[in-house]
Amino acid sequence: MKKAIVAILVVSVAVMSCTKNKIPQPIVLEAKTVNDLPADTIIGISAMGQPYGTGKYTLYSLENNSIVANSDSATTKWDIGFRGTTIIINSGTSGQGAASAFVYVGSFSSLNQVPVDSVFKIDNSPMSYAITLGSGKGWYNYDGVTKLISAIPGRVLVVRTATGKYAKVEILNYYKGGVTPDVTASDMDKLIKQRFYTFRYIYQPDGSKGF
């Protein structure tokens, strides 16, 4: 077995060195990590005791790896938006773009190619969203006992961007600093630290479905 691996390595190194100058190297796509992206963070508590933010989505361009101003919400400049646990895609009832997405079950690193039978969905508020709302249904789990929200491992948001490119996005954490508060942390700690997304993604600029 070991021998076979060594043999393959030798051969492949040989092949690589032969072809080195003839075909251009494919661009290696690097995963980008976005830390602490605020998503309508809590600014107050209503008289009813309900925490609230400004109610605005944080819009994001995967192509440019940057936040897009809310004034550009009616453009195709943004691909994905965050408000609390709700994630919208620039499509349908959410925006003017032709983006779409679905939640892929599997690990981020193993998703090298968008499966051919994938069904991309668009937002149709309030009936349905491309990234299904609710605990255990889309990207997160809410634990009613600990009052903590955690990103479900093995869930990848596959996004067809507003300009028709493909990207894979993995939400890693929902709390500031990328660390979920301890179970024993105070309710206040759990509230003020939430709605900060840490996610990583790979954007394929050439329009293909491979990563």
Binding site: M48, P51, T86, F108, S150, P153, G154, E170, D187, M188
Partner: protein, 709 residues
Amino acid sequence: MIRIIGSLFFFSIYFNGIAQQDTLQPTVLDEVILTASRTERKLSNCAVPTYLITQKNIAQSGALRLNDILSEQTGLNISSHLTTTSAGGGVFGIGVQLQGLSPDYILILIDGEPVIGRQGGVIDLSRIAVNNIKKIEIVKGPSSSLYGSEALGGVINIITENAQENKLDASFRYGKFSSADAHLNAAIKKQKWGLQLAGNRNSSDGFDLEKNKPGKSVDPFESHTAQLKLNVSPARKSKIILSVRFYNERQDNYFQTQELLTNSTTSIVGNGNVNDINLNASLSHQFLNKVNSTLRYYCSRYEYEQILSKESTNANYYYDYFQQNYSKLENQNDLKIFTNNLLSIGGGFIDEKLNTTRYAGERKNKIVYFFLQDEWVPNKKLTIISGLRFDGNKMYQSKWSSKIAVQYRLSNKFRLNASFGEGFKAPDYRQLFLNFLNTAAGGYVVYGANEINIAELNLQKQQGIISEILPRAFQLSLLKPEVSTGLNLGGLIEANSKLSFNFNFFRNDIENLIQVETIAFRSNAAPVYSYFNVKKAYTEGVELNGTLQLNNQFQVVGGYQFLRTADKATLKQIKEGFIFTRDILSNESFQVRRKDYAGLPNRSAHAWNVKLFYHNKQRDLDAAIRILYQSRWGTFDKDGNGIINRADEYAKGFALVNFTVTKTANQFRFQTGANNLLNYKDEKNLPGQPGIQPYISISYSFINTKNKE
């Protein structure tokens, strides 16, 4: 390990030789048990897994409350539900797991009648003082064919003392955290009647595990128990029992809440009060030497009230009131048919009433039930028990429960038991009647199954309260009870009068477990929940127990339980590759393998105990050391997949060592000891464990019963 077993084997052969020279003493296996079949029979003749805790066991261990003594038994895992109430400060109480089933599914009886007043599904075991208990009978596996609802995982029946002789005993105990316990037992015994009186006062200053946090881990409390029990035998074949029991508890609450989003804190003071009263009357008569008929009336009221206010302004902060009333009238007839059949036929009515600030208005339920059991002894070696019970009511779907149990006596020393039984648990009040709008966390709504229907949802949609009704809402219906089917296969080996051993394999399949699901969305996009029978789970394992009398002075008792549990839907998802975990350091996701799935949370795979008892008759000296171990158990999901699988999602396994020494001198009895001698603490996962608790106690018998002997 093999060496240990080898030497144990050697020991048993060795003692086998010695035992034959001794006269046979009556062992615990000859004790009469009532709970297993609702008719009296010897412990060794019970075909279902039945265990007994005697008064002597309780005295030796220095136990005061029911949880103290149950925590030292194999396969009973005490769980402290120190979850605060919605307002904080409250305690749900201490419950017990049995064969891996939660406290919610274990029926607790006092003298055969159910203890009521579950908070968060748990009957707080510390409500029950053990100073006047004659014995505790534990039947494992589903027993709803005899007891109806809640006897899903098992039944724990606390049998209080009957007046046996004139008696007046008083006792006082003092220990760490200013915990004080005083009790008084008195009895008058005449030829035709007996009167037993027991009183107890128990209090503690509570304790604080996390000094940097305001408030205590367990708040100071004081409780009182009183029981009066009258036995009358007006004629040779008639028996009347009248018993009144009263319990009262007051807990002083103090804690601080932090105002959300500001750094200001508010101190909250108040108290929680529990009042529990029950009356138990039974009249039995034997007709024609063949039929024993018993008429029982039982009623109980449980009241819980918590009043909290802000310390600075005295303004109301929280108020919770919960009152449950339960009454039951029952008739049971035991008939001898031919020579080898005992037929029990019975039935009754249960009336339940609920008054609480948690649900609007008064809630009532009536249950009608009947049961039938046949105990057939076709020959000397075989006993076959079969039973059936029906429970009918309006609040949830009615239920038939059955049971069959077989005992086969291979020899006097070796018995095999096999039983199959069904158990059920009625939906709880929350699942039926809750009507809750959460204002703090997103404005979601939870409806009990009886509080919502599709017509109401449609109406709310027309009114614009609800934006969307989900397909699940069309499946709203009368909830079914949660049900289990249990299989127990075990055996009892009495090698000799010194050594006995029992084993039991168990498997419980639980269905219709109730959980919340989303039925609609409100116009603010917040979900609307209600309850459905969805989940399926199982628990399985093996329990082993052994007792070895080393010599006149030393006795060793040991037990072990292996437990495996799982949620069936989770198992399926793991099989289909749907569940992943995340590596803490690399953040990479991996599929969860079956062997990494811990099963249901709060359950230890391994639990064992070893107890060494010393008895010196000449010196009237007793000592007992008990080591109780449980392996790691799952606490909270941390990697987001909703199950326990990663190492940091477990609490550490631990061992408790409890120790007592007792000296009897004339009419005095002195006891000193310590629970948790090794001072084991785990603030996060064992908030009810304060560490080492030494104590001393003194008892005095005003009437010298020894001299009479």
